[in-house]
């Protein structure tokens, strides 16, 4: 019995150190977040030689303009640390939602854990937008006003610093009456997530 306990302790100790070589913050090596009903461990790639390659290492982005640090007044821009806290404190409690507004094909290939896909083109579809508002917990009253008292906090992201899809989608939400203080913008997007070696999930 003692032996088993000892092995258990040793295993916990070992697994605790598993993601300590490349940590997120001094007191965070990994977190768990629910993605489609399953707990996913989110950490950083532990191989110090690992380099970002492929589509998201591409520097040439014609016609894609750099986005400002702050897109609208009162919309908070966040980084990776804030996004991880959002996963822990909001997404896991169903009080928050992370929305990937890239085309479905990109989302299917790879996304940030716990993110749901709402391709930016949806913003022109009134019926779908109303459904989304409902999912987010906003209630449309008979007189047309939007009650967002119990609505979720929502983080939007797209490809990265040069991608306007998330800013445009956010704008559409604000126009529908979603309150700015419940909307956040992860400007770094999928590209920065990748270049910092964070865990991704495959959705197809």
């Amino acid at each position: 019995m003692k032996k088993i306990l000892l092995v258990c302790i040793a295993m916990t100790y070992l697994s605790a150190g598993q993601y300590d070589k490349v940590k997120i913050t001094p007191d965070m090596s990994y977190i768990y977040v629910y993605h489609k009903g399953k707990a996913v461990k989110v950490h950083r790639t532990q191989d110090p030689q690992h380099k970002l390659t492929g589509e998201y290492a591409k520097q040439y982005r014609p016609g894609q303009y750099l986005q400002p640090i702050s897109i609208y007044e009162n919309i908070q821009t966040i980084g990776e640390v804030e996004l991880l806290h959002f996963m822990k404190d909001k997404v896991n409690d169903k009080k928050g939602l992370i929305v990937d507004v890239r085309p479905k094909k990109y989302y299917n290939q790879e996304s940030i854990p716990s993110a749901v896909n709402m391709p930016a083109t949806i913003k022109n579809d009134d019926v779908k937008m109303e459904k989304i508002l409902k999912i987010m917990g906003a209630k449309r009253a008979d007189d047309g006003t939007l009650n967002t008292e119990h609505a979720m906090d929502v983080v939007f992201y797209c490809h990265g610093l040069w991608c306007k899809k998330a800013p445009e989608f956010i704008n559409a939400f604000l126009e529908l009456g979603y309150p700015a203080e419940k909307v956040l913008y992860y400007r770094g997007g999928f590209q920065m997530w990748k270049i910092l070696g964070f865990t991704t999930v495959i959705n197809k």
Binding site: T45, H50, K51, K58, P62, M192, G197
Partner: protein, 204 residues
């Protein structure tokens, strides 16, 4: 014949302009002066440009490398690339590369002056000189930052603690937070976007 030349000229300008990757719409580049030379800051125009140097590395070992929060302190504004370019173009203050000298020598953002973060951490003659060069006054053991300039600091990127450390040290000294700006994306985001860098050691 003249007509033909004119048409050829028009076509060639169209082709050239059509291929330009702009920073934002209508702004293909800014011209700055660095190390006594005129430098054009623009995005890469090379169709096959990928980030392949050491800034493509995803996982710097910790310590000392951790992901920095989006904001250093409430009163210190975080900048993106557009805000950095505006700061440089309009000469809004002092643009500081807070990395150690060997990093700076290899590649840097044009117009930045190298003031390694360590200088800000201890009370030395060098630190006094630097603060005075910012416009701060030192009288009877006290700093007066009333006429101090706005400073913008950056280092290697979201995983680099050097510029945040410098900013925190300056806050402790009483440097007004609204006179400090933080470019969190740093060298990594700058290069991932294909923006122009210089090699200071080759210029000198």
């Amino acid at each position: 014949m003249k007509k033909l030349y004119l048409i050829l000229f028009l076509i060639s300008t169209l082709l050239v302009n059509g291929a330009v990757v702009e920073i934002v719409k209508g702004m293909p580049y800014i011209i700055v002066e660095a190390h006594g030379k005129e430098i054009k800051i623009q995005r890469t125009q090379d169709k096959n440009a990928y980030l392949t140097n050491t800034f493509a590395l995803t996982s710097r070992p910790s310590p000392p490398f951790f992901i920095e929060p989006f904001s250093v302190s409430k009163g210190v504004e975080t900048y993106g690339e557009l805000e950095v370019l505006d700061f440089i173009a309009k000469e809004k203050g002092i643009f500081i590369d807070a990395r150690l000298e060997n990093w700076y020598a290899k590649s840097a953002i044009p117009t930045a002056v190298n003031i390694p973060f360590k200088i800000f951490l201890s009370d030395t003659k060098k630190r006094k000189e630097v603060l005075k060069s910012f416009g701060a006054e030192y009288k009877e053991g006290l700093w007066n930052f009333l006429d101090a300039e706005t400073i913008l600091l950056y280092c290697n990127g979201a995983w680099c603690g050097q510029s945040p450390t410098a900013i925190k040290a300056l806050i402790d000294l009483g440097y007004p937070e609204n006179k400090m700006k933080y470019y969190r994306g740093g060298m990594q985001a700058w290069q991932l976007l294909g923006l122009t860098t210089i090699v200071p050691k080759d210029i000198k």
